[in-house]
Amino acid sequence: MSGLDFDLAHLFAGLMVLVCFLMLYQDRLYSLLNTFAVHAMVLSLAVAWQAYIQGAPQLYVTAAIALIFKAMVIPIALHRLIRRMDLHREIETVGGIGRTMLLGMALVALSISVMLPVTAAAGTLAREDLAFALSIVLLGLLMMITRRNAVSQVVGFMTLENGLILAATGAKGMPLVVEISVAFSVLIAFIVIGIFLFRIRERFDTVDVGALDSFRGDRR
């Protein structure tokens, strides 16, 4: 493939990692959601670019889903959710933002060092993309475990999933990518609905404050 193709794809992937760090940096829910919207947009751009250079039209669908669903519907829904259930606006973190950022750096380094030995045979594009995708996945997971708010955890999960989509689209000619992205959108919808349904105020951990105390049989 030509240098430009490669550079653009690379750029988008890099951008996504960067945005991930921005998300890690946020301490307000709203701003976090906005940043995530950006993340999703970059993703859709990256996917679209892949669709173009691979000449795989079905990927445009994926790009569209990313744009419409992740970059618009979900963030808006979450905005309203926050207002409706007047959740805390600021993000409770575990172990401070700064430390989380450092950990994030380490994760990126880790994912790159893991990807290094992959021979160029797998396609340089795939290889670089993968390194970024992996770091995005790890950063998403990191966000899930260092943020206490339910919403920010959902955001973390979606970030993780963006990384997956990036990887999937980066994999040349991979079947079922569209189906998978759809499946994931459904999954996320489930989660958001779940939050509504179970009135999760602050955290995933508790369906209801009452459930905290009425722990099942094993609590003594």
């Binding site: 880790l110 994912s111 997971l141 475990i145 995933f204 951990d205 094993d218």
Partner: protein, 639 residues
């Protein structure tokens, strides 16, 4: 239907015993392979002299127990929980003895544990039974796993599970195999410190089952050890015998020290089983030592002693448990301090129990003495052993054996004297009645065996010879059967000899003569009068010596050292007519030193880990994340 179980068991078990006996007399091996068990191995069965001996023990022991149970079963409160498992238990023991491949062996072994566990749990509502069953089953599983590891080593990576292949196969880590076998078989036989389940489980079971467990199942365990250590692992190394010797002598003495302090008749019998198992293993260890040094004749002597003692113990321990069972059925009491005076209420039972007590105390001319005598003879050959460790340890073991023998007498004087002599200590004991025909019949049978083997040991020893040759090789002992006056001379005439028949003859003769003389000269007059008791006779049973009172001197001498026994007497203040209270505190060194810490450790670990049940989802995700990161960094490092 239920009434038919025990008669049928008696019939089948008797047949088994006969089969074993015939196979032993024919002295050759028969094998059989069935398409069961482990695929591509099949389940192999083999009846060679060694297994024949123990098949005979299982068979005849089972026969006696079933016969006893025909009568005893009527007193059983929960027959539905005993009758189904009893035959299965017998079958399991028989299969262990017959098995000829690792899978079949362990299958039967664990099946035997399972069924006996169910039998122990028969009286599941009585306090302590649940604990007993738990400890028993866990120890059984421990033993099975140990044996499983042993077989795994012998079978090798390709899994040659048939015993035939193991015999011929390369003997890797034979020492480890022997240790594992000692752990596995020892935990079932009741070697210290693996004996803890035995005094809990044996008394908890119905008495005819206790008899089977103590009299027969421990022998099956001994068979397991002999099969592995003498037959399968190949040539022994002399240090093995050191290990076994030490364990065995500790077991023999400690078992009796426990027994002599017990107040529960059945528990006392169970502890004495521990002691006798120790004596058998003492013989086995000597056999190992001699075999390792190529002293075939001495090895044969030791092995004969061990096997004979196994047979004898099966006989008299079953007899004693039957007696205890009859007492339990007649009075509902197991505690010595609630019994007494039974010799007048249950004359037959008490007479037969006396025979058992005398033979387990190794009194000539009964059978217990013969096997212990042979063991002593084997000990006396030890100076010819080349290794110094053995030279020194064996006499020590002999001393331990002597101590055990003396303590056994003390223990059973106490048991018999308190339970059967004197005056009844409780209303139940006063209301006791004689056992029924089947029970007495079974006991009489065993008592006859005690006397028979004691007086004519020669033929029995010759019958054991093929098994001995199979185990230790060589020519075995010289034939003992055909000598004048049924005399035993295991090594040579002027080395040592013993004739039970003559001793019996002499004692009987001199007793008769003296009695006759006395009758001739003495006055026949007999007057019944209140007991003299130094002028202060007191009819109340409470004035008799109690079980703990009788044990007091022994407790002071041995208990204070081994069990840190402490006695506390609280006196009422002067002028207060209230009774003085006496309390004894014992510390079980094995339980407190070994099992309690393990239990505590498990408990603590469980408590620590249990927190993981109550983490939040975020924390669980952290676990996943940590695992992921760890593996990824491993990937980078590994390269």
């Amino acid at each position: 239907m239920r009434d038919l179980v025990y008669p049928l068991c008696a019939l089948l078990a008797g047949l088994l015993g006969l089969v074993g006996l015939l196979a032993l007399l024919r002295g050759d091996a028969a094998t059989l392979v069935l398409p069961l068990g482990l695929p591509w191995v099949g389940s192999h069965f083999r009846l060679d002299p060694l297994s024949a001996v123990f098949l005979a023990i299982v068979g005849f022991g089972g026969f006696a127990a079933s016969l006893f149970a025909v009568g005893y079963g009527r007193h059983e409160p929960a027959p539905g929980r005993v009758a189904p498992f009893f035959p299965a238990f017998l079958a399991g023991m028989a299969l262990v003895v017959l098995a000829d491949d690792a899978f079949t062996f362990l299958f039967a072994w664990e099946f035997m544990s399972l069924t006996s566990w169910a039998l122990v749990m028969a009286h599941h509502r009585e306090p302590g039974t649940t604990f007993a069953g738990f400890v028993y089953f866990v120890m059984a599983a421990f033993g099975t796993l140990a044996l499983l590891l042993a077989f795994g080593l012998m079978a090798g990576p390709q899994g040659h599970y048939a015993f035939e292949a193991m015999r011929s196969g390369p003997h890797r880590l034979a020492g480890v195999v022997m240790i594992l076998a000692l752990l596995g078989a020892g935990s079932k036989a009741g070697l210290v410190p693996l004996h803890v389940w035995l005094p809990l489980a044996h008394p908890a079971a119905p008495s005819h089952v206790s008899a089977l467990m103590s009299g027969v199942m421990t022998k099956v365990a001994i068979y397991g050890f002999i099969r592995i250590a003498f037959d399968l692992v190949g040539p022994p190394h002399w240090w093995w015998s050191v290990v076994v010797l030490v364990v065995a002598s500790i077991t023999a003495v400690l078992g009796l020290l426990y027994a002599v302090l017990q107040e529960d008749l059945k528990r006392l019998l169970a502890y004495s089983t521990v002691e006798n198992v120790g004596i058998v293993f003492l013989g086995l260890s000597l056999a190992l030592a001699f075999k390792a040094n190529g002293m075939a004749a001495a090895a044969a002597l030791a092995m004969t002693a061990a096997l004979l003692h196994a047979v004898n113990h099966a006989v008299f321990k079953s007899l004693l448990f039957f007696g205890a069972g009859s007492v339990l059925a007649a009075t509902g009491q197991r505690s010595l301090d609630r019994l007494g005076g039974l010799i007048r209420l249950m004359p037959a039972t008490s007479a037969l129990f006396l025979v058992g007590a005398a033979s387990i105390s190794a009194l000539p001319p009964l059978n217990g003495f013969v096997s212990e005598w042979l063991t002593f003879q084997a000990v006396l050959v030890s100076p010819q052993l080349p290794q110094w460790a053995l030279k020194f340890l064996t006499p020590a073991a002999g001393a331990m054996l002597a101590l055990a023998a003396a303590l056994a007498a003390a223990c059973f004087v106490r048991a018999y004297g308190i339970a059967f002599l004197g005056r009844p200590r409780s209303p139940e004991a006063t209301a006791a009645h004689e056992a029924d025909g089947f029970q007495i019949g079974a006991m009489a049978l065993l008592a006859a065996a005690c006397v028979g083997i004691g007086v004519l040991p020669g033929p029995v020893i010759d019958a054991l010879a093929p098994a001995v040759r199979h185990a230790v090789g060589g020519a075995g002992l010289a034939a003992q059967g055909g000598r004048a006056w049924m005399t035993l001379a295991p090594i040579s005439d002027n080395r040592s000899s013993y004739s039970g028949a003559l001793v019996l003859l002499f004692v009987a003769a001199s007793a008769v003569i003296s009695a006759a003389l006395v009758r001739a000269v003495a006055s026949r007059a007999v007057r019944r009068a209140p007991a003299w008791d130094c002028g202060f006779p007191n009819r109340r049973p409470a004035t008799q010596y109690s079980a703990s009172g009788f044990a007091q001197p022994l407790r002071r001498v041995f208990g204070s050292v081994v069990f840190r026994a402490r006695e506390a007497v609280e006196m009422p203040p002067p002028g207060d007519p209230g009774p003085a209270r006496f309390a004894v505190s014992l510390v079980d060194p094995v339980w407190d030193g070994l099992y309690a810490p393990v239990a505590r450790a498990v408990d603590r670990a469980a408590e620590r880990l249990n927190r993981l049940q109550f983490l939040t989802i975020r924390q669980y995700l952290t676990l996943v994340f940590a695992a992921l990161v760890l593996l990824l960094s491993l990937l980078t490092v590994l390269r």
